[in-house]
């Protein structure tokens, strides 16, 4: 069973192993299908129709399964690798360690947003983007440009304090923990981080930037924390909801797991600490 750690606490060896596994997955063709799958759901998840990966209750279990699939793909390359998470309430500047040349690489340059340092810089020859919104095939970032501040610890605590998982109409206008964490409502946690990073992270093809996985691993950790604080509460809705994944309904595209199956992750992975 794996332990998912804060990226700030990884050893140099652990960082290297994670980066190398990601690069190996990219090289063997296993990475890009994850980008395609994500965007496929981004463009088809709608507020007034079927919605699975985003703007709906299954945003959290869908991404939990999506991360598990990705983590298993990395472990097929190197069994020692677990997903790390990025606590953006703590590492909140463009010069934080996560953006080092030994890990995610840095901010994009001012002329065209191109990331020019670290293992995912286009010039390194290992990170060409193939699933794109536009003609640019290099990784881009504009840290802190689209929005100045990452969510704070107080912002995050205020969302963790919402005791109802989700609410009708089960979309981007819902009250509840899920939508406030996703960020269509309230202080805006998850969406804001995508905008803060900018570049591909702001697009439907956001997994093109490997920091996507570290961001979503933290979102998953926050859900886990919420579950721990609200033992009497569960995933909603429970049954009979059109266009939305109910507690015991299987989720596309895997059609093998339900939200209920994913509520307890302790048999598969744990987190190093609480929030």
């Amino acid at each position: 069973m794996g332990v998912r750690k804060n990226q700030a606490n990884l050893t140099a060896q652990e960082k290297r192993a994670f980066v190398n596994a990601v690069l190996a997955l990219k090289a063997n063709g296993g990475y890009d299908p994850f980008v395609t799958t994500h965007n496929q759901f981004i463009v088809s998840d709608v507020d007034n129709g079927e919605r699975t990966g985003h703007r709906s209750p299954s945003f959290l279990p869908w991404h939990r399964q999506y991360l598990l699939e990705f983590e298993r793909a990395l472990q097929a390359v190197d069994p020692s690798v677990n997903l790390p998470y990025w606590d953006w309430t703590a590492d909140r500047t463009a010069t934080a360690g996560i953006w080092g040349a030994d890990f995610m690489g840095g901010n994009g340059r001012s002329s065209d947003g191109q990331v020019t340092t670290g293992p995912f810089a286009f010039s390194g020859g290992n990170w060409r983007l193939n699933v794109n919104t536009d003609s640019r095939t290099y990784l881009r970032r504009q840290l802190g440009t689209g929005v100045a501040q990452l969510p704070s610890r107080a912002d995050t605590e205020s969302v963790l304090a919402i005791t109802t998982y989700d609410a009708a109409p089960w979309n981007s206008s819902s009250a509840g923990f899920r939508n406030n964490l996703e960020g269509w409502r309230g202080v805006n946690l998850h969406n804001r981080v995508h905008v803060w990073v900018g570049g591909q992270m702001a697009t439907g093809m956001s997994p093109n930037d490997p920091v996507f996985w570290l961001h979503h691993c933290f979102v998953d950790k926050l859900w886990s924390e919420w579950q721990k604080r609200n033992p009497g509460k569960t995933y909603l809705p429970t049954a009979g909801t059109p266009d939305v994944v109910d507690l015991n309904e299987r989720m596309k595209p895997w059609n093998t797991v339900t939200p209920a199956d994913l509520l307890d992750h302790s048999g598969t992975y744990t987190y190093d600490t609480g929030f």
């Binding site: 395609t36 965007n39 496929q40 981004i42 463009v43 088809s44 709608v46 507020d47 007034n48 129709g49 079927e50 703007r55 065209d112 947003g113 699933v131 794109n132 919104t133 536009d134 003609s135 640019r136 689209g146 109409p169 979309n171 981007s172 206008s173 960020g183 269509w184 998850h190 969406n191 804001r192 995508h194 905008v195 702001a202 697009t203 439907g204 093809m205 956001s206």
Partner: protein, 136 residues
């Protein structure tokens, strides 16, 4: 004032007079039509959704118009009812439940109108061209 400009002014004035005359006739006959849903009230209550635009923004041609939602395989499920193009290429977009808009280029950020969304995409593209979206 040059003679050309003067002539143009006269022509404009005549056209306006003609339009006013036509309007007078129209108001006399189809009063309900003018005050009904075709008027400005619907647009004011629903900003952006029923307006078209076609402009050059930072050297890029951006166009937006209400569109038949049936063009998407979700049969309007895409929730759009609107189409935006940048230099002729479609920008995938959708409408949120609260009436705001998002595009595939700025997916995690909402915009009040399709025009604002199109301009934001132009800013992000920095001259790059949109490519068709691969979903399988």
């Amino acid at each position: 004032m040059s003679e050309d400009t003067h002539a143009t002014e006269l022509t404009r004035r005549r056209m306006l007079q003609g339009a006013a005359a036509a309007l007078t006739v129209a108001t006399g006959t189809v009063v309900i039509g003018l005050a009904g849903p075709g008027g400005g009230a619907a647009t004011a209550a629903d900003p952006g959704a029923s307006d078209s635009f076609d402009e050059v923004f930072q050297g890029r041609r951006i166009q937006g118009r209400p569109a038949d939602g049936g063009s998407h395989h979700h049969g309007g499920g895409a929730g759009t009812g609107y189409e935006v193009r940048i230099d002729g290429d479609e920008l995938h977009m959708m409408r949120n439940a609260d009436g705001t808009w998002i595009s595939v280029v700025n997916h995690y950020q909402t915009f009040a109108t399709p025009r604002a969304l199109a301009r934001a995409a132009v800013n992000d593209l920095q001259g790059a061209t949109l490519v068709p979206i691969v979903t399988a």
